[in-house]
């Protein structure tokens, strides 16, 4: 081979030459791959976000793009319980950045959906699991308190343990639970019996992730609280009689 004849491959200069050449080749290869694949990856993430929002109100379909425009009627930006105007649209708010700010100053998105004539609200949430971030979408009925559905996802929770938060076994516990009562705000993720209106059963072997879900509810609901409570006051007939019992 060319290099074999001309150089001693164990000499210092060749070693430096090889190392530098290798780094340049590898670096350009990786940056070309990263830049050329980025549009595809971003599109995937956007589609996933849309289908996550939709699946929390029970809409699942082939084309999330189209369905999103059909069902999501309004996108609001909420700050400290009030609807505010913002340069960036609710959909484009980076929740990862938003949750770093204090509860009262962060601007968070709220999606308003219409399905079969009923109004629903979708709240995106983000928190921390065991190995990395966890996030989810909770959809509320028109009263702004009763949960219609919830979907969760995670970046790197352990499959079979913490990662189970994104399976129906965990998510299906949420419908008809309520977010706010005189007892607490949010949902208690507990071990064993979870028959209360604000309790769900956690994941065995996934305690830290389960607790992460509970903390995520507590943290992410604060900006929405007074907005959502206003909705339930406006709503003369609470859809679920249990709420009035708890609010008595």
């Amino acid at each position: 081979m060319l290099i074999d004849c001309s150089m001693n491959i164990n000499s210092n200069s060749y070693t430096y030459f090889f190392a530098i050449a290798m780094v340049i080749v590898v670096a350009s290869l990786l940056s070309i791959a990263a830049t050329s694949l980025k549009p595809f990856q971003e599109k995937n993430i956007e589609l996933e976000k849309k289908s996550d929002i939709l699946s929390s109100i029970g809409v699942i379909g082939e084309d999330p793009e189209l369905l999103f425009d059909e069902y999501i009627t309004d996108q609001l930006v909420i700050q400290n319980g009030l609807v505010v105007s913002s340069e960036i649209t609710a959909f484009d708010i980076d929740l990862e950045e938003a949750v770093k700010e204090s509860n009262s100053s962060r601007k968070v998105p709220l999606f308003k959906a219409q399905k079969n004539g009923d109004t629903f609200y979708v709240i995106p949430m983000r928190g921390t699991g065991l190995w990395g971030p966890i996030w989810g979408y909770v959809s509320l009925k028109g009263d702004g308190n009763t949960i219609l559905g919830a979907s969760f996802d995670h970046e790197k929770e352990t499959p079979g343990l913490g990662a189970e938060i994104s399976t129906p076994i965990f998510e299906d516990q949420f419908p008809d639970k309520i977010l706010f009562s005189s007892l607490r705000d949010g949902i208690e993720v507990r071990k064993g019996d979870a028959s209360g209106y604000q309790q769900v059963d956690g994941i065995s072997g996934g305690t830290i992730t389960s607790v992460g879900v509970q903390t995520m509810f507590e943290d992410c609901l604060i900006p929405y609280k007074s907005f959502l409570l206003n909705l339930s006051i406006e709503n003369d007939n609470p859809s679920d009689s249990t709420i009035s019992v708890i609010y008595h």
Binding site: T15, F18, V26, Q41, E155, P159, G160, G205
Partner: protein, 218 residues
Amino acid sequence: METNKTKEALFSKKNRKLLSDPMNINNPITVQVLGICSALAITVKLKPAVVMSLSVIVVMALANVITSLMRNMIPNRIRIIVQLVVVATLVILVDQVLKAFVYDVSKQLSVFVGLIITNCIIMGRIEAFSLGNTPWKSFLDGIGNGASYGLILIVVSFFRELFGNGTLYDYPIIEKLGLYELGYHNNGMMLLPPMALIVVAVIIWWQRSKTPSLIEKD
């Protein structure tokens, strides 16, 4: 150079041994005890174990071929760094491609794609085999070792998912068989890491009792 030698058949007996040896007498997990860390982490369920096995086979075969092609050019003193760079580059490329075109599989694998880099089997085979052998042989060695790593992973995750979760490839088999009504309970301990080691140990026990050549004389 190559043309002067009598060419060896592509699947000669020696080459076939490269594929079959790792399956039994030279198994990377049960005999060489390499790659145990990932065998613990991803054998809770079958699906990630299968996807992980496939990715390891791909990365291992490619890394072996690439280092084998470069084996006469790599300076001896930085060869480990070079091996690491080759493996890491391949893993990042695989990760990026998965993210762009099969997003759901990429999410399924999540952190484990990155863990392929640290898989001792890959570095071990490059160092021990492909630095001294032709690309075709290295390719076979990579496939053989990757596949036998995957085999153990799949066997372990089969038992862990079945007894720990009552499902197989997410299919609720125990529920369909109606065993829960008879008082059967899932064994939550199967989902915890120590059980992976115990299952691997049982496989080693079984393998050694069947293969006398593996039993140490004392």
